[in-house]
Structure formats: C-alpha cells, structure tokens
Symmetry: C3
Subunit: 154 residues, 3 copies
Amino acid sequence: MTNPIETRLKDLGLSLPDAPAPAANYVPWVRSGNLLHVSGQIATGPDGLILGKLGQDMDVEAGAAAAQRCALSLLAQVRAACDGDLTRLVRVVKLTGFVNSTGDFTDQPKVINGASDTMVEVLGDAGRHARSAVGAAALPFGVAVEIEGVFEIK
Amino acid sequence: MTNPIETRLKDLGLSLPDAPAPAANYVPWVRSGNLLHVSGQIATGPDGLILGKLGQDMDVEAGAAAAQRCALSLLAQVRAACDGDLTRLVRVVKLTGFVNSTGDFTDQPKVINGASDTMVEVLGDAGRHARSAVGAAALPFGVAVEIEGVFEIK
Amino acid sequence: MTNPIETRLKDLGLSLPDAPAPAANYVPWVRSGNLLHVSGQIATGPDGLILGKLGQDMDVEAGAAAAQRCALSLLAQVRAACDGDLTRLVRVVKLTGFVNSTGDFTDQPKVINGASDTMVEVLGDAGRHARSAVGAAALPFGVAVEIEGVFEIK
C-alpha cells in the first residue's frame, strides 16, 4: 500500500466505512466538471445510526465524534467517485454541517470541528475547506449530525 | 411537440408552473459556466402557498406532495434559464431540501422523496441527484417545504 | 481611489470589516476554477456578535441589519480572495441565509433582504444572486443570522 492517504488513515487509526448507499431516488454523489457534490451523510457508527439532539441528550464531545463519522462517510463517497483512489481528491471545497439542536444550543462550530479536524488530519492542506455550521430543528431518523460536501477532484 | 421531456411531463399528468418570480432583490437563478444555481423554491400549489409544519399539522404524504411542487418550480426555473428548452438540462446535480419540522419529526427523507422521485420520473437518469434533507425550525411564510438546486446545463 | 466598488461602498456610508478569521480547522474561502465558496459568515457588528432569535427577542428590522453585516463580511472575504481588488468579482452566484428563528417566525425573506439589498447597492447587477432563506433552530454563539455564499471571480 503506497497510497499516502490510505496510509495516513491507518496511522490515525481510522478506516472509511463502505460508501453508504442512499435509500431513495437519489445518488451519493454527482460530478460536474471537476466539482463533486456529495449527498448529506448522516452520522453512522459501527453500531448504526448515531441519534441525539445537542442541548438535550448529547454533549459537544459526542456530537464532534458523530461529525467525524460524517466526515469519514463523505471521504468514502469521494473515494468511490474517484474509483478507489483518494489521491485524485484535489481539495475539500466546502462542508455544510447541520447539527440537530435545541433552540438554545450554540456550539455548532465545536461539533462540526469533529469533521473539519478529521479532514485536515487525513488530507493535510487539501483538507482545509470553507464551511458553514448551523442548527437544524430535526434531522433524518433523529441523527445528531448531517454533513454534505463539495469537493474538487481530478 | 417533439421535446421528449415536455411529452414525459404530459404523460405523467404534470405541468410546470410559470417560473415564480422572487419578490426581492435577488433573481431566480444564476448561471456560472455550466452550473446553474436556482433559488430556494417554496411549496406553492394551484391554490397558493402550501403551509404546514411536519410533525404538527401536516403528514408525510402531504409533505411529499408539497416537495413535488417545489421540484416542478425548480424545473420551471431551469426551463426559463434554458430559453424554454429543458433538453439542454444535462443533469440535476444537487438538491437541498428544507422541511418545516417540529423537533421530533424525523421523516425528512420521505418528504423530500416527493421531489427526488419527480425529478427521476420526468428526466430519467439525468434526474438522479446528490441530495440533503434537513429539518428547518421555520420557513418563509410558513410553507411546509423549500428546495434549492444546482443543475448542469449546456 | 479609482476602484468603483470601493467608491460605491464609501458613497453608501459602508465599510468592509477586516475579513474575519475562522476559529477552527477550516478557512474563510476556497477557490475552485472561477467559483469561490465562502464560509458561513455570522452576524458581527462594531461591538461584537449580533445575538438574537427572530420571533423571540429581535425584530425584522434588526434582523435585516444583522444580515447586512453578514453581507459585508462576505464581501470582505471575497476581496481578500481577490487580492484586495473587488473589481475581480464577476457575479454573486448564490447566497444561503440562515435565520435564527422560533418555530412560528416566517419572515426569513425580509431578514435576508438586508444582505440581498446590500449586494445590489454595492455591486449593481453583478450583485443579483440566487438565494435561499430558511429558519435555523439555533446558530453558532446565538447569532441572529449566518450567510454563506458562492461567487464567480476572475
């Protein structure tokens, strides 16, 4: 294995999940030119969906761990879009992070940092991205975090 | 009429609304290169705005019908951007669906399927798109659904 | 000073803030081709963050003023991305405005108009953009408005 990104993942003790398949009439990603739009990835761990609402029944640390899982799912989709070769990923362009939040929870940035930090740990400077982090009234199936992304690939 | 997409719409018993005009200092769509960004389309039926909050006073089926109306409005905008010729639409790249939700409503995907399914029914494979579906605390005028889109056109 | 946009800003009595630096492992903007994705800018005035929730403790007029501040922060980021020369901005492509809202606040468009109007006042036709305005259950630090943007630059 000489692919440096896969090596980096291993060094970090991380592994990408199988690229989750959406359960509807849409697809995990669409490429247009060099831009890859990846569908919102909902927080999923080894034991299934990561449910919770920040400000109610989940703390920031657990939220950030959920966001990391979303980042890994995004990278799994990018890898699939790149025929298995993540070195074709030029740059993470933009992440939009939705945090399942009560009306008075205000630490969305700390939660989404779980994804942002992972992107940079795995990809280095290519992982630095524009970002928004906002509170959602509710998310699919009650997951804690959903993150979508735009990526430049070659 | 030989335009296959218009024929398909007719076969499905669907018709596109007039491309709704925004009521503010913005525009329905902007093209940059081959990418077309279409403004968020709020659910509007023959009788006006489709109001409701999922988990409170609207069920999933009605929400999905509202999402279908958003999809038709999006296609109406794309058609306008393509000088009336929807065959210039190469691909629906990305839809972002906001569902007016209470804090415990978790079926956003089933609601937005009303739009996703319509895109594929009308456009075939070109209608398959990346997607996010999230819960919004509130939406303009109290509508049930708002959907924005990115499209590749030629 | 012959740069017409800077002159226009001055004529309007507006000035761009320093391009705010994000406080995390992400960056204010990423350019890919001619598209510039700018991170969500949270409402910040001369006295610091503009906190509030529409429908609860902030009215539409104050919300629109907060949205204007987001627009100025977005333009500050675009200027930084253009090496200080806003005349390299070809077009504001898309704004997505998140309004910190109670469940029954429905004037998100009027709030985000504070940003849309500013873009057109400052930039003229190049400022006309596609847009979405939605209600967020909560926003970072409790700010009233967060707006992200996509821009075409040369």
